[in-house]
Symmetry: none
């Protein structure tokens, strides 16, 4: 039995607008993150403007904890990723969000392995700065990794909730991909509510019926093209991989269209 490692804490440093804090909580909820920490929110806390934007993530707001300093907010955090729209001239490792999420996951797994039985395991965290200015360099250097997303250089600045969502999504996908018991979809699967796909023979039977109907209706005008047009029609229907039920429907369509018009 594999236990999923604890999801990262989201720390918002000096967030400005309540609406953005609420939207960040919704994004966290969407991706299964639960723990929100606020360092010196500009407009105080709680902030009624946050509530409507939180939608289904209201509980996360209610449980949010306020700290006076980033140091205090990270007292139990052993690995932190700081998000920024731009690289910094600082001696800190850079990663894109996808790589950062796998590093976060690897660290969280290490922690759960090391601390089984411990009262409180050290946690991982995602750190985001205020809307207008982003994190300052003193905040960035507290982190282990600086994450910058390869966005449009003409406008890389994400809305705060989008930035939180991006990292939370990449975390979620990293854990899903790593979870062997429940993998994400390996490939798009045709949703076949009508049951099993038709056999090649059933397809062939349908094709023959269609071709006979077309022969009877003088569909084919150029004799030397008949074989190739028939092949092309077969290929078109085969590409759809029709189910048994769908072949039945197609038979019904031929029958209906052949009826004399009223």
């Amino acid at each position: 039995m594999v236990t999923l490692p604890a999801a990262p804490i989201v720390i918002l440093a000096r967030p400005q607008m309540g609406e953005n804090i609420g939207a960040a909580a919704r994004a966290m909820m969407n991706c299964g993150l639960a723990d929100l920490r606020l360092v010196s929110p500009r407009d105080g806390w709680p902030n009624p403007l946050a509530v409507p934007m939180a939608a289904g993530g209201r509980k996360i707001l209610e449980n949010a904890v306020v700290f006076k300093s980033l140091a205090a907010a990270t007292h139990d955090v052993s690995f932190m990723i700081a998000a920024s729209a731009r690289r910094r001239d600082l001696p800190i490792k850079n990663a894109d969000p996808r790589v950062a999420a796998t590093l976060l996951l690897a660290h969280a797994r290490d922690m759960s392995a090391i601390n089984t039985g411990a009262e409180t395991s050290p946690r991982t965290a995602l750190l985001f700065g205020p809307e207008a200015s982003g994190l300052n360099n003193d905040e960035v250097v507290l982190a282990d990794i600086l994450v910058t997303a390869p966005l449009n250089p003409a406008y890389p600045s994400l809305n705060l909730a989008q930035a939180v969502f991006l990292m939370a999504w990449e975390w979620r996908m990293a854990t899903h991909l790593g979870d062997t018991t429940e993998p994400v979809l390996p490939a798009p699967q045709p949703n076949m509510p009508d049951g099993q796909p038709a056999s090649i023979q059933e397809r062939d039977f349908f094709f023959q019926r269609l071709e006979t109907a077309l022969d009877d209706s003088d569909f084919f005008t150029a004799p030397d093209m008949v074989a190739s047009v028939k092949r092309n029609i077969r290929a078109l229907f085969s590409r759809a991989m029709p189910s048994v039920q769908e072949i039945r429907t197609l038979h019904g369509i031929i029958q209906a269209l052949k009826r004399q018009r009223k």
Copy 2:
């Protein structure tokens, strides 16, 4: 010299709040998408509430084009991915956002390969429904792929701008990963011998003609099943991704079968 394939068009079907349209435009700009189409926006267009939320994506709003129907909005689109918070009981392929983005990229590459020199290449599109209800099933079956994200089952409902951002981000990462000397994706498959694929609008026109012909022939016997049978037929043909020439052939088949038998 490798040319990047054209980025997908974003189509918002019946969007409700201007603020969300603006935020969607910002997310598009962040990820390098440019073309926004609106189908029957609830509060008309232009909408001044959209502007502040668009931030650096204001130009995308200015260039947004409004359409009266989804069919009209897809007149030049040959491959479309519809986003939904939930799976549907429809015979349409499902994929998660990451897989969907690679399929989108593969298709866009096919298009640029096939249509060099053509006046206007067919485009790919991402389709999103209104905030409150999401896409209806008739809108979903016009698409080639239904994308659902493996989010928190307790609250998978994304804000509209987050949904747009998620797909735009996955598109951007897919193109980045593919933008190397060694392509990640297998070579495009030559499954389109007849040239360019039909647009979604051309498909829709064919479906309407087929449905009218079936109505005239008393094909539908159970009135309460008509809508769902029509959707299933549409999904079957859409799965095959017919080319322009193949749609022409299908029109010819209807016409031929409808002729009075000799």
